[in-house]
């Protein structure tokens, strides 16, 4: 790896927080490998990387939500390992997320004091002290929020202020902001950044994680790039240009692993979506899928890609537009109806929506096709077993037994069971939502191979992926979604990671300017 750890510019102070060789794995899946860098007081540290690069895992390790498998976190010169976020907070390390988890039916003051209510002499909650304290902390953020108001009625920005005020209750040394602006309006984001600058000027270290590169450029003094769960570089912000940053984030040697698509026979139109909209989520989405074609769908997390797929599949019925599947116009109402029409959807959260984890492999594979395996609604269990066994073999599921619970399989093998399950319905069109999310490299290559084979067999495939190299490797054509709108359609010959990334971020910039 072209790690450039040594290139950190000299700072006046000793680092506030040092990460040394941090590694984390979940079962066979590596979430972080050997990450080391320093965070200095009084500086804003931008942390960037694609989805799945390991940013969130790193935050969880720093705040004690996860324990590292290797490496040490050094705070103020002493190695620390927090057992939970409360302990981290008490030691001056706090994280604020894009959607803070507050208690909606309690007041602002109660939320700020949560876990440490001031007491009166007789042991009841000292409301006055609690409210004064909350007012004082909010004032430090320049906020005049009514401390007696219920949190339920407040905006996301106000939630974040409450969360930061909570952190200030202790001697705040390090504030981590994880995608803080993704749900804020531009003026709210500006106010948040004003607070961040103020904290920084008072000597607090701030780690800023955001997909919006212009925010990184605007706010950061130092920038760390993570890619593929590894540390790529930590440099002063002025050492980066936008191009260099994007290149460091996306350019990975993995590409060679991906099979280049062969030139396919692209046939008739199978799925066409016209002017599809879901109020408040996305609007005016039109695209087509042809038989034998793999269409990629890229964009930032939260752009609305999964939501579009779920609407097409009938999980959240659309408020506008229509879907035409194999020549007949359908108003999607339920997955049952769309499955019957010949569409299958492999959900993003495989473990939650795609499979019944506690059930056997057999029962998972046959759940959508029970009707075909039964007579007068009585299941032919012999046929069920042979069907499931054949499917499991076709998709090369590695398992102890076909009667084993899906929960006992690895991520990659679960994904193969999911493939077997949805392809068992004999769909004409298939939507794959993040099909290689959280699975190991070997299985990943197999999934890509599978996608290519399916297209060769004449299936129309839509692949949603936040993994840019994957998107480029498997797609014949790439649709880019930004903020609920289709902003670009790039043919494979013209597609590059930079181009897709630019399109995905482009609309965001325009809107926020």
């Amino acid at each position: 790896m072209d790690t450039e750890v040594g290139a950190v510019a000299p700072k006046d102070d000793a680092p506030l927080l040092s990460l040394r060789g941090i590694a984390k794995f979940f079962g066979p899946v590596n979430a972080l490998e050997d990450v080391s860098f320093d965070i200095y007081p009084g500086r804003v540290h931008g942390l960037v990387g694609e989805n799945g690069a390991g940013k969130s895992t790193l935050v969880k390790i720093i705040t004690g939500l996860e324990q590292p498998n290797a490496g040490t976190v050094i705070l103020d010169g002493a190695a620390v390992q927090f057992g939970n976020p409360i302990e981290a907070r008490e030691n001056g390390v706090a994280a604020v997320y894009q959607d803070p988890k507050l208690f909606p039916h309690l007041t602002v003051a109660e939320n700020i004091a949560m876990g440490a209510y001031p007491r009166t002499a007789i042991g009841s909650v000292n409301r006055r002290a609690m409210e004064d304290n909350a007012r004082r902390l909010l004032a430090r953020l320049g906020s005049e929020l009514d401390v007696r108001a219920l949190v339920a009625g407040l905006s996301v920005a106000e939630h974040q202020f409450i969360e930061i005020a909570r952190a200030l209750a202790y001697d705040l040394k390090l504030l981590i902001l994880d995608e803080p602006t993704s749900a804020l309006t531009p003026s709210e984001a500006e106010r948040l950044f004003a607070v961040v600058r103020q904290l920084r000027d008072h000597g607090t270290a701030v780690v800023l994680i955001t997909h919006r590169l212009e925010e990184i450029e605007l706010m950061s003094d130092d920038i760390t790039v993570l890619r593929d769960r590894r540390h790529i570089a930590t440099l002063p912000a002025r050492a980066f240009t936008r191009d260099k940053l994007v290149q460091m984030m996306v350019g990975r040697p993995l590409e060679s692993l991906f099979t280049a698509p062969t030139h396919r026979q692209i046939g008739r139109e199978v799925l066409s979506v016209s002017n599809l909209g879901l109020a408040g989520v996305f609007s005016d989405i039109s695209f087509t899928l042809r038989a034998g074609e793999v269409v990629g769908m890229g964009g930032l997390v939260g752009a609305g890609r999964s939501e579009i797929a779920k609407t097409v599949f009938g999980i959240t019925p659309p408020t506008a537009g229509e879907v035409c599947l194999d020549g007949s116009v359908i108003a999607p109402k339920s997955p049952r109806q769309m499955l019957a029409a010949g569409l299958a959807y492999l959900p993003e959260d495989r473990d939650r929506d795609g499979l019944v984890m506690a059930e056997t492999i057999t029962h998972n594979i046959t759940l959508p096709i029970l009707k075909r395996l039964s007579r007068l609604s009585v299941i032919d269990r012999g046929r069920e077993r042979t069907t499931a066994a054949t499917a499991a073999e076709t998709y090369r599921v590695r398992m102890a037994s076909i009667e084993a619970a899906v929960a006992s399989l690895s991520g990659g093998n679960r994904q193969k069971v999911a493939f077997a399950k949805w392809l068992g319905t004999n769909p004409k069109a298939l939507i794959l939502d993040e099909p290689t999310h959280g699975i190991d490299i070997g299985s990943k290559a197999q999934v890509h191979e599978m996608i290519a084979q399916l297209a060769d067999q004449g299936l129309a495939v839509l692949v949603i992926s936040s993994d840019l190299p994957e998107l480029l490797a498997v797609s014949d054509r790439i649709l880019v979604i930004a903020e609920g709108a289709l902003v670009a359609e790039i043919p494979r010959a013209e597609a590059s990671q930079e181009k897709v990334m630019a399109a995905a971020a482009q609309k965001v910039e325009r809107k926020r300017a």
């Binding site: 049952r336 929506d353 795609g354 499979l355 759940l367 029970l370 009707k371 619970a405 006992s408």
Partner: protein, 323 residues
């Protein structure tokens, strides 16, 4: 994997517990081990048994129905009205089963279509159905049933040893077991109980399936009300009041996960045998009603605790390997 091994183990345990309870009962009375006594004791659990079969279907999807005892009162009162009008018994039985289906339909629509919490819904209908039964029924209770009305719940066949209602129960148990373990419907019920989202994504019609379980539970309770008339000969608004504890205990002790997704009808039937034997034995031992209720409640809690305890034991057994 765990399912294939764990459940038969529990069912075998239940069989052993039934034998143990029977052995205990036999020490209490020298008449216990007679054939007619044993068959006679099955009468103790046929009414709650029919309800438990229905409740097991509802619980398999992760829902609950505590209104079933009130459905029985609606059923008995309906039968009394039909008897008073001189409706022939077979027709009356069909009508009362339809009424039971309607009670279930109300629950099902509220829970599945309008997505209301089933505990609150059926607590409400528990009160509403019973109130309805009190209003429609007479204060004193109707006892003027013809023999044809009483037959199902009171007659014995095979030299007067085996109650007719036992056949009704066994037939119902076989049908429910077949539906739950061999048909698409049953498989879909369990898949909803394990993961409703995944079931919905896989094309399962959750609303329809859940409504059908409630309708079936209502129908089975209505059938239980027919047995009730035969056993007690009286129809009043307070019929079967308080019997839901026994029913829920049987379902949970039978190994049906109260959160849905797991369980067998065989286990429920065995749990009914166990509870029936214990209750019969407690009667022989002159243990009073309140104490019996304490025992039932404790068994219910034990039934709910069982998977938790099993998980704790499993965790303990695993720890040395993980460390």
């Amino acid at each position: 994997m765990s399912r294939k091994i764990a459940l038969p183990v529990w069912e075998l345990t239940l069989v052993l517990m039934v034998i143990a309870a029977g052995a205990w009962s036999s020490t209490l009375s020298e008449y216990y081990l007679s054939v007619d006594q044993i068959f006679g004791s099955t009468r103790f659990f046929i009414i709650p048994g029919l309800m438990a079969l229905g409740l097991a279907m509802v619980v398999s999807t992760g829902e609950i129905d505590i209104s079933l005892a009130s459905t029985i009162a609606v059923g008995t009162v309906t039968l009394s009205k039909l008897a008073a009008f001189g409706v022939p018994a077979p027709i009356a039985i069909v009508v009362v089963v339809v009424v039971g289906c309607l009670c279930g339909l109300i629950n099902g629509l509220l829970v599945a279509r309008w997505k209301l919490p089933s505990l609150a819904v059926t607590l409400g209908t528990m009160g509403a159905f019973r109130g309805f039964a009190f209003i429609v029924g007479s204060e004193v209770g109707y006892t003027d049933f013809s023999d044809a009305y009483l037959y199902t719940g009171s007659e014995y066949v095979f030299a007067g040893i085996v109650p007719v209602s036992l056949f009704v129960f066994l037939a119902a148990a076989l049908v429910v077991a077949f539906v739950m373990h061999r048909t698409i419907f049953g498989r879909q019920c369990f898949s909803i109980g394990l993961n409703a989202d995944a079931a919905w994504y896989a094309g399962v019609d959750i609303v329809r399936t859940k409504i059908l379980t409630y309708v079936a539970a209502g129908a089975l309770s209505a059938l239980a009300s027919v047995v009730w008339i035969g056993q007690y000969g009286s129809a009043r608004g307070d019929n079967a009041d308080g019997s839901i504890l026994f029913v829920v205990t049987a379902v949970v002790l039978g190994g049906v996960d109260i959160n849905g997704g797991r369980g067998t009808i065989g286990g429920v039937v065995l749990a009914l045998c166990l509870l029936g034997t214990i209750r019969n034995g407690m009667g022989l031992a002159n243990i009073g009603g309140p104490s019996q209720t304490v025992v039932l409640g404790a068994l219910l809690v034990a039934g709910v605790l069982r998977p938790v305890l099993a998980a704790a034991v499993l965790k303990l057994a695993r720890r040395p390997r993980a460390a």
